[in-house]
Symmetry: C2
Subunit: 507 residues, 2 copies
């Protein structure tokens, strides 16, 4: 027995150091995005590069490979009393995956990619500002070429896109995304069309003047009420809201405040709180190991979007919270009914910009990008033709065509940093959330009545028990099957949208 | 030539990595003292220990020793055109010193000391809270024993205390401290007695209610006006004010606010601004090397105390700033004259607590500790007899005797973390400051008139040129001799005090 357990213990020790380095890097990065003075950028980049290098050296240490080999395959495990504890099997699977992904790319390739994407991000920002795709084109071309090489290094069975997707949504294949997205598109396109033909809702009162300090006070009250442990985190302000984990007892979120856009800070805060509740909810036994992480970006996004949209944009939620908000903003919100408020925060309007999209059209923005990416990676689409392809897809999916590349192919930062394969996780999050919520509604009695009384504790408890505590010890598909008894399907999300927006827009 | 320069280049490369790690550790520590959530302490300690370990491994890397040996002694350098650039000689001297100090202590000793002082700090805090020296006594005994061993490891020529002092005030010997402190004591004791017999000044208006947000606004205005570059740093709040360098373009300070103690935030801010101006002023050529550091704690303290006391507590300073402060606090300060304000912020009163002491009695608090430390280290004083020795020295130096050990030997944290040899630097700072200022006053025309007009730019320029830009490439004694033409003497400080307080207290 002992000889079989020793390498795992040593692996855990090495892993713990790597986690500490990753968390230290997170502290430094959090500071950079919140409080760092303007001129410190250059020095900070060097510190960050050093810490990332040390982290990379730890996770690719040949000793890790030797130890993993000594542990043997987690698939060929004996069962019965001699079996390894389940948690160790999960640990070894995750460690093997991390080692594989981080050692398959040659150092020279990683450096070349880092240099390319570092330059490309600056060029992209300039190109977007100038609405000049030609400027960005050679960089995107090179990034696509490098990404295809990367997929080859990483390895795949069916399609090179699988290797890219797997970095963000472990073990998921492009063929499954295609199946799910095709079904999703089929359901979304007619719904958007119907809403477009209906009478628009009035959200003008959300655009009055809302002083920032009072918005902040509401955000803080809200996140704590939803179960966020403020002794293990904090709320700050940044240009782009984010959640970051600086240690097992230090999960911070940020939000942003706009004077004439009340919903922005509220739903950013609830969204990030959803991410943070996941990170604060990993089981004790996972603490300090690489299992104390979200199991996939899609599952992470399911947590943020369930709190933001399914719960936070529901009518019972505002039955409870609107009176509080009206106390904070009496002049702006007096006379607004729960129904009016609920309808206003669920306004649907096709637009060009993904990050401003409502929950109905959002999925179509993602499908557009996914189809572009697969076409680029498989070589079916040339970068030179990409802007036109974007416009065509936009017409097909959203029914509108952007007049500029700034509102089209240049709008997202992702490709400039090499993040091809990332976009699908955003839409998968909505689908996971709806499917989980469907099961949850059957298991928690009077769920909506509870929300209307501000009692979201049972929801958090359910998420803790079924999702959070597992960290990455169960994969996304394992979670979905265990919880809902079936594989991922977009029908839950479509049913949710049809019911909700059918009512709001009386379709 | 080339073979002689290569090892220096490699040393600089290794040094740069070590600095990045030290700065990363500083970011983490800054966060811990300002924004970190309550429950994150344990995880943060582990990150910190890991980064410190990595830093220590870098500076004690055997390669550093080999490279230093290859460079040869900096003392036996050829002169003339073949000579090494001056900056490289300074770099090698500092690197040699760092390597020597960090490698002479055996790893087992360092670990033992770390464990001891970690435990001792908690015990000290408890002992102080309970006013129970007996609780702390065995720990202090062990710390003194270990410190004597440490001095042996570090090495010294005249007195074991030299080795301890040298950690904080490089190249200074205890015999010099004794000479200077004896002279200082001779001058201070009668001055304190004379002030004690004079009529006390009225500072009651400083204890009215001063809202914290307006105190903060004034602090920010003040620090920037003194030349602090806010694009290369920031101001935050912490329990104990401090300055920390997170990168060559990231020097942050903290202060603290008390509603009924207006002077606390003002002078903490000016004090830390003094430290920060030094750190922001290192020459470009030193950036990213270990020469971009204060040359000694005493010199660092000379910068903070010159701004805080010599300048910040001067009459012309308040000629300029009082009207601004009165605009911010009209109810509290209307009718207060510059003279009244000046006298109030210079109130002298012997007290038991060093950190609350005025600039006249402060030096006596330090002399007391210095004499205790030398007696403990040389074995003349037993730890069991230390509380009584403290009381006797307090009577001799300050003319008052603390009634409890909490107000006596238990008041400072320093000994519990093993910081024996540190205290003298606080008083040396005052002496350096006065000696520098004496020279500066002769070299900058109408210095006091400028201060009264809020024009402190020429002072900062003088400090940049004569002190800041050199970083640690010149030692403290080299700086003093180059700038003032003579060795360190307490007579400048005594003359300053006698003139200033003679006037305030009409002695």
């Amino acid at each position: 027995m002992e000889t079989r357990h020793e390498p795992v213990a040593r692996l855990k020790e090495l892993d713990r150091e790597a986690r500490h380095l990753a968390h230290a890097a997170a502290v430094i990065s959090w500071d950079q995005q919140t409080y760092m003075p303007k001129n410190a950028v250059e020095g900070r980049a060097q510190q960050q590069a050093l810490l990332e290098g040390l982290h990379h050296a730890r996770i690719t240490d040949p000793e890790v490979g030797t130890l993993l080999a000594a542990c043997g395959s987690t698939e060929a495990e004996p069962s019965g009393p001699a079996a390894r504890p389940e948690i160790d099997r999960a640990f070894l699977r995750a460690k093997e995956r991390e080692y594989r992904l981080s050692t398959r790319l040659p150092g020279s390739f990683v450096r070349e990619m880092a240099e390319l994407t570092s330059r490309s991000q600056a060029v992209w920002a300039q190109a977007r500002a100038d609405n000049d795709f030609a400027l960005f084109r050679p960089h995107l071309k090179k990034i696509v070429e490098m990404t295809i090489r990367m997929a080859d290094y990483l390895g795949y069975e069916e399609h090179p896109y699988d290797a890219l997707l797997d970095q963000y949504e472990p073990y998921m294949r492009s063929s499954e995304v295609k199946r799910v997205f095709d079904e999703l598109q089929t359901g979304l396109v007619p719904l958007v069309a119907k809403i477009g033909a209906a009478r628009q809702v009035d959200d003008s009162f959300l655009h009055l003047d809302y002083p920032l300090d009072r918005q902040e006070a509401f955000s803080k009250q809200l996140m704590v009420a939803l179960g966020y442990d403020i002794d293990r985190g904090r709320l700050d302000t940044s240009t782009h809201p984010f959640t970051t984990t600086l240690g097992s007892d230090d999960v911070r979120i940020t939000t942003r405040y706009h004077r004439n856009l009340l919903q922005s800070s509220i739903f950013s805060t609830v969204h990030e709180t959803g991410h943070a509740l996941y990170e604060q909810g990993f089981g004790e036994g996972l603490s300090g190991t690489l299992l104390a992480e979200g199991t996939s970006l899609g599952i992470h996004e399911s947590q943020s979007r369930m709190w933001e949209n399914t719960i936070g944009r529901s009518e019972p939620f505002w039955t409870h919270w609107l009176p509080t908000l009206q106390e904070i903003f009496p002049e702006q919100l007096s006379g607004v009914s729960v129904e009016q408020f609920y309808r206003a925060v669920n306004k649907v309007e096709p637009s060009f910009i993904r990050v401003e999209a409502d929950e109905v059209t959002y999925g179509l923005h993602v499908i557009l990008r996914y189809r572009m990416e697969v076409a680029l990676i498989s070589g079916e689409l040339k970068v030179a033709d990409a802007p036109e392809a974007w416009r065509e897809l936009s017409r097909e999916l959203l029914g509108i065509v952007p007049e500029t590349d700034r509102d089209g192919i240049l709008q997202d930062v992702h490709w400039s940093f090499g993040g091809i394969g990332y976009f699908p996780t955003y839409a998968l999050g909505n689908l996971y959330a709806a499917q989980f919520f469907h099961t949850m509604e059957r298991q928690i009695p009077q769920l909506r009545d509870g929300i209307a009384r501000g009692e979201t504790g049972p929801i958090l408890e359910w998420l803790r028990e079924n999702i959070h505590r597992h960290g990455s010890s169960l994969s996304a598909s394992e979670l979905v099957r265990r919880i809902t008894g079936e594989p991922l399907s977009p029908q839950f999300f479509l049913a949710y949208l049809n019911r909700k927006y059918g009512e709001i827009y009386t379709l």
